[in-house]
Symmetry: C2
Subunit: 311 residues, 2 copies
């Protein structure tokens, strides 16, 4: 079923204790769209770029089935650019530059075909922009929202409005705590349920992800990597894999089951591990089904153990 | 098969953002011995107490099958006492007092029966004391060592000596990094293998535990608790559940399999979750098999998902 993907298509400049990326293609929608495309060929991307954005990447998205009618190109503007530097733990990071550029004043427009999308992935952006896009989709079956602490600091009211309209919220553990005031994650998840989303995915980076839905809990570990080159985009890849898998699994009426969701979280986790192994999106684009299968099989065995011999 | 348990039998005074324990029975060997006793009735405890230690707790250990011949009682001394205060995250903590008391000058003595123990759990203590005890065990089949960053700071040479003599090392993620200089845990585990232990268990508290053995990896999540009252003793409970389960599963020659170890890590994780739900050891002592079974079943389902429908 068709997926609508909202987010930035942009440039990143990343430094880590182990290397530097230079200026590379990044942005939430770039990672989400590539991840979605591995499972769901029907996809509409809503984003904005400047005159500086490489055609090669857009061609790659189109080659993978993504429709770019909703991608606004501002001929006299520059693309969004984020620069950041990771700490030694490869988790904490400092933002060195946030050049909003074409994001300023952008009014996202969903193309006619995109309005009929049944799966909607609202990547991290101003909640008002996320709402504008969601309102243009006629009858979505499943809406997933990603956000971050920044919007909790500067746009909490709008954030709560969009949260109340979505089916799934993905946030990291600190964001879940900030949003709810609850330290322990099962309680934080319940507080988020009360805000609207039936399903809450709490991302913990190298520590995996917890998913909560109506009293049910699922835990997906992170694939234990030998080396992390750059975690940028891992959360977006996770979200894209999650939504793409659900879209590929949905029934005629668009419904997805808890079992679908559990599988989708593991698929997202495995795909995110590939994103961490390189700067930028090229690794994710080049990923084959066989590579994903092989790592998922190894990943799935990580937690498998037989029944306990109780005393 | 008989287990030898080394560690402190002591008092703790704990403050958390949510409450205070007062002075309660604690110490590594107290938690380990109780956890072991749920699976392995044959146990020899090696520790030291002062004249202030409550008989009730010792009677409880004996009632549960633990032999206390190796428990030195110093009639003119006071028991070891640790006081600490947990930060808001319930992970970081400040030590407020470390009253070594009877630990000073203690020369641990393994009773004749204890020398024949086949499973040895060396709880966190001065590595020289751990070595003294291990040298008194005639032919151990499996030796598990727990330690902490403090000994890496003040007794690294002795710590490396005892590490080279054991089969399993349990440390937390920061300790694994400090010990090896490797940030990524699969690499840290390989560096620890090179120091001697064939099996490495890296404890990550609320984020679960990773176990490594000869290229094999297992991940056990932490049970997602609604509320943590006090994490003190969780690592010791984990270790005790791990060793106790292995001792209960071992073959006539004392061997344990990778499958046994995987099960043991899940048992240790589930038992540790109970310890986090109350101050002190009383919850662990009162735990029933039915309670453990029920939580383990729920825990085991946390990560269970069906096969992926690949594109």
């Amino acid at each position: 079923m068709p997926v609508l993907t909202l987010g930035t298509v942009a440039f990143d400049t990343i430094e880590t204790p182990f290397g530097s990326s230079g200026k590379v293609v990044g942005g939430a929608a770039s990672y989400i769209a590539l991840a979605v495309s591995h499972f769901s060929p029907e996809q509409h991307v809503v984003s904005v770029i400047g005159n500086d954005f490489p055609m090669e990447f857009l061609s790659e998205l189109e080659r993978r089935g993504a429709k770019l009618d909703g991608l606004t190109r501002v001929e006299d503007g520059e693309s969004f650019h984020w620069a950041g530097s990771y700490h030694n733990d490869m988790v904490g990071r400092d933002t060195l530059a946030t050049d909003l550029n074409v994001l300023i004043g952008w009014e996202p427009c969903v193309c006619p075909q995109g309005k009929g999308a049944q799966f909607v992935m609202l990547g991290n952006l101003d909640p008002a922009v996320q709402m504008t896009v969601l309102e243009q989709v006629s009858s979505p079956k499943l809406v997933v929202l990603d956000t971050m602490n920044f919007w909790m600091d500067v746009a909490l009211d709008n954030l709560k409005k969009i949260i109340s309209k979505v089916d799934v919220l993905t946030v990291n553990d600190e964001e879940a705590r900030q949003l709810t005031g609850e330290h322990f994650l099962p309680k934080a998840a319940r507080a988020i349920h009360a805000m609207g989303p039936q399903t809450v995915v709490i991302k913990k980076g190298e520590h995996g992800a917890l998913m909560f839905q109506e009293g049910k809990t699922f835990f997906a570990p992170a694939y234990p990597l030998e080396h992390v080159v750059d975690p940028t985009g891992a959360g977006d890849t996770f979200a894209g894999g999650f939504v793409g898998y659900l879209a590929s699994r949905s029934r005629a009426n668009g419904s997805v089951t808890w079992e679908d969701m559990k599988q989708a979280v593991t698929v997202g986790s495995v795909m995110a591990s590939f994103t961490c192994e390189a700067f930028g999106t090229s690794g994710l684009a080049a990923l084959t089904v066989d590579e994903m299968k092989a790592r998922w099989t190894e990943y799935n065995a990580l937690t498998a153990c037989g029944p306990i011999a109780w005393p």
